[in-house]
């Protein structure tokens, strides 16, 4: 984590202002611990972050083994919503929880911008 703590809030603001986003988190990819969060009530941040980090690790390894390089963005789609994640080079996952009809392209852009802020 290279950014000051104040930057975390700014990074999360970028994401949560997108219509259809229910919350955003910064998660340590290594241990799945929440670094910062802005989540709507009812979302279990610590549990989701742990699972997201685990999923990110498996995915990263599989993608590297498949020869498609490092993961830049991934999008877990479900019937009633989605989890969107951008890993940063410094080992942070920028995570968004979204409604099913969210503009995925826009969230992706904001996740990438947030990842630049976080470093």
């Amino acid at each position: 984590m290279t950014a000051p703590a104040a930057a975390y809030g700014k990074a999360l603001d970028l994401i949560t202002r997108v219509r259809g986003v229910r919350g955003a988190m910064l998660v340590s990819a290594e241990d799945g611990i929440v670094v910062a969060e802005q989540l709507m009530e009812g979302i279990k941040g610590p549990a989701v972050s742990a699972l997201a980090a685990s999923l990110a690790t498996r995915l990263r390894r599989a993608m590297e083994a498949a020869g498609v390089g490092a993961s830049l963005f991934w999008h877990l789609q479900a019937e009633q919503g989605a989890l969107l994640v951008v890993p940063t080079p410094a080992g942070t996952l920028v995570v968004a929880v979204a409604e099913p009809d969210v503009n995925v392209g826009l969230v992706r852009l904001e996740l990438l911008r947030a990842a630049e802020v976080v470093g």
């Binding site: 083994a65 498609v68 991934w74 999008h75 877990l76």
Partner: protein, 284 residues
């Protein structure tokens, strides 16, 4: 016919926006000049991207070139623009025949018959689909071709229409042996194969890393109250991957290079998932 091609080419050169490319492309296709036909159709499609006939023409040429995946997309696009487009309905029926989905083929032919009740090719193909009549090629000719003209060289229906009898789960799908993988819950490879960009087989390594991903994805979305997980798309620096659960205890992986857009990858994955589901049901 060469005169006609020359005349149409000349007309098109004089007015590149004209729709004469449709006739020219079709003539070239019928003559077997597929590369030229391809160029003509593509140029026409660039100028008329919302013209269903342009997508239909392009799809026929792609199908003649055995690029069935892209042909499917083009016919699918034609139908999105014009849901009753007979050519596209027949084309999709043809492709469904090829992968052994006789039910879907018949459904598309029925829709084509509703739109064009007097088309003898549709009636003939539909009879084949419903009754599994004798002889090869009839349904394909009616489905994919124009009138009684076969779309490609005659091929017997039976072998192509019964992929469930084949051992390979993704038989007939593009990338079946290099970019498609079907795993069970423990990461055991059920079908397909994966090669990295250097051509090295990485099937087992990737399968090992993906063991448990399906359950983890399911747990994550359950925790978030998002219902059932339907897919996981990931963008890499050198390529894209798409994971999907064809059944609750199986995992499908599709890998393509970055030239393939994520949306297209999702369509490929949907199709592969359908094939996987059928294969799993047949081998249960």
């Amino acid at each position: 016919m060469p005169d006609a091609i020359k005349t149409l080419s000349s007309q098109l050169a004089q007015d590149p926006d004209s729709l004469v490319f449709l006739r020219l492309g079709e003539l070239l296709r019928q003559k077997g000049q597929l590369d030229t036909a391809h160029r003509v159709a593509l140029t026409g499609l660039e100028r008329h991207p919302h013209l269903p006939d342009a997508h239909d023409l392009y799809a026929r040429i792609l199908a003649d070139k055995h690029d069935y995946e892209r042909a499917f997309d083009e016919w699918d696009m034609a139908l999105r623009i014009a849901p009753d487009h007979v050519g596209a309905l027949k084309g999709l029926a043809f492709l469904y025949f090829k992968v052994g989905d006789v039910q879907q083929a018949a459904a598309h032919l029925e829709a084509a018959q509703r739109a064009a009740p007097d088309d003898p090719g549709v009636a003939q193909a539909l009879a084949m689909a419903r009754g599994g009549g004798p002889g090869g090629g009839g349904a394909e000719a009616g489905a994919g071709g124009r009138g009684t003209e076969p779309l490609t060289e005659p091929e017997p229906i039976a072998p192509a229409a019964q992929p469930l009898e084949e051992a390979r789960v993704f038989a007939g799908l593009e990338g079946a042996q290099e970019g498609l993988l079907l795993l069970d819950a423990s990461g055991r490879v059920l079908g397909g194969a994966l090669k990295d960009p250097t051509g090295q087989d990485v099937t087992d390594a990737v399968a090992a890393y993906l063991a448990g991903v399906s359950q983890e994805a399911a747990r994550t979305v359950k925790l978030l109250g998002l219902g059932r997980w339907t897919g996981l798309a990931a963008e890499g620096t050198l390529g894209h991957v798409h994971l999907a659960p064809p059944t609750s205890d199986a995992l499908l992986l599709v890998v393509r290079d970055r030239a393939v857009p994520m949306g297209r990858l999702a369509i490929i994955a949907q199709r592969a998932a359908l094939a996987a589901r059928r294969w799993l049901e047949a081998h249960a």
